[in-house]
């Protein structure tokens, strides 16, 4: 084996330092526990072939007693005593330049002064040392809910803080995996790709100009939606009880990059518009302000639904006729004393 297969040159071990102390609700951590492609347990337990041994340091999933025991690997990394590691940031980054005399969010205290260490301090320490930097969820990627108009913290996405041209020690840009919360398998799949890259057996993950994985965010919600056929036939829901296309009751699906209707949520089940939830565009950089009020029809929706209506109404009727025909068996399937199938015993090819 070793003689014929070239050994990949990469890391055998990788720490994942996951800080959810941004402006977040930790919902992305909770979401990721539902992943199955692959499950985070399998990655941590080393059940996925070819991955480096992963040491996960995540507040919610930590087996430690908390406090200093939990903070130890983060402090070690800040002192250059722990590497290599992937830095995962959850939650938007507040602007600590405008915090007055206080702070917006902290993660542990300074051991000498006892003062809180802000998230921004940790990012300044850890991001330059990290082999890769991953932003999980829309908050960390672009700012999200906490960065909406009228917010007092001036918070922003990780790329807004570190710079969009930031490159980690492993020469990777920030990897953004938006979603509010992130779709569990979208994150685990991308993390697994990054880990295979760390192991030396995969190229870097392809990202678009907004640093999202191309294969996940390259299509719109509408292009993968179970209800998109209703749109084509000009058949729209008038309220939220309808199984039809929700474009006229506030769904932003036609203009939102997200694969959730195709992928489902847990175990392939769900996917917001598939199960009656309007798409509020939670994966988008412009979320939430550019899509509010969520329950009003998107401005472009009135035009496109008006144009598709006459075509859809006509096509729907035509298809109804064809469908009725297709639902009838051919007339030669009967139990009478004659064969009416058109069989000709003298016919030769």
């Amino acid at each position: 084996m070793t003689a014929t297969m070239p050994q990949p040159h990469g890391f055998d071990e990788m720490h994942i330092l996951w800080i959810s102390e941004g402006m977040s609700c930790d919902g992305d951590t909770v979401s990721v526990t539902a992943a199955s492609q692959p499950p985070i347990e399998d990655v941590v337990l080393g059940l996925v072939p070819g991955l480096p041994t992963v040491h996960l340091h995540n507040k919610v999933l930590s087996p430690t007693l908390g406090g200093e025991e939990f903070l130890a690997p983060f402090r070690a990394a800040a002192r250059n005593e722990l590497e290599p590691f992937i830095l995962v940031i959850e939650g938007s980054i507040p602007n600590e330049n405008i915090n007055g005399n206080g702070y917006w969010t902290s993660f542990g205290n300074d051991l000498e002064t006892g003062e809180p260490l802000t998230l921004n301090w940790w990012i300044d320490q850890l991001a330059p040392k990290a082999w890769a930097v991953v932003a999980i969820g829309t908050c960390a990627a672009y700012g999200g809910i906490h960065a909406m108009a009228g917010n007092p913290t001036g918070c922003m996405g990780l790329a807004d803080y570190l710079g969009w041209d930031f490159k980690s020690k492993g020469a990777l840009p920030i990897v953004n995996i938006p979603g509010c919360p992130v779709q569990p398998d979208n994150f685990m799949e991308t993390l697994t790709w990054v880990l295979y890259h760390a192991a030396g057996s995969a190229p870097p993950p392809p990202l678009d100009e907004l640093l999202r994985p191309q294969w996940i965010f390259g299509k719109t919600v509408h292009e993968g939606c179970d209800r998109a056929g209703y749109y084509e036939q000009g058949d729209f829901a008038k309220d939220y009880n309808s199984p039809k296309c929700q474009a006229k009751v506030g769904c932003w699906g036609p203009v939102v990059n997200c694969n959730v209707p195709k992928r489902g949520w847990m175990g392939g089940v769900g996917g917001c518009p598939n199960v009656g939830g309007i798409c509020i565009a939670c994966t988008m950089p412009g979320f939430p302000d550019k899509f509010m009020p969520f329950m009003d029809m998107p401005p472009g929706g009135s035009l496109s639904s008006m144009i598709v209506k006459p075509y859809g109404a006509f096509i729907r009727r035509m298809r109804g006729i064809t469908n009725a025909t297709a639902n009838r068996e051919p007339k030669w399937r009967h139990n009478r004393k004659a064969l009416t199938s058109g069989y000709n015993p003298r016919w030769r090819p």
Partner: protein, 89 residues
């Protein structure tokens, strides 16, 4: 009564231990606990909790469409989003 009086008289010399958990793990949110515990007498003599995070939901929700409230407040917590949605109605 007698039992408590006896216990009081038998109070051991206290040895107060300072115990701190910040952040608390296995739970959502920035929670820290700062305690002083007298283990010999099974007593928590001092306990302070802190949540070192300010996002300002009540600030940035001002002036928004009321129908959007549920979509926004559900993002307060990653576990109990449904409670915050319901409370916003």
């Amino acid at each position: 009564m007698t039992a408590t009086e006896q216990a009081k008289t038998r109070r051991k010399p206290g040895q107060i231990v300072e115990m701190v958990w910040d952040p608390i793990t296995r739970i959502i949110g920035n929670l820290g606990l700062y305690t002083k515990i007298d283990f010999a007498n099974r007593e928590v003599t001092e306990c302070h909790s802190t949540s070192s995070l300010f996002r300002g939901y009540s600030v940035f929700m001002k002036g928004k469409d009321p129908r959007d409230a549920g979509f926004i407040t559900s993002r307060i917590c990653g576990i109990c989003g449904d409670n915050h949605t319901t409370c916003s109605v």
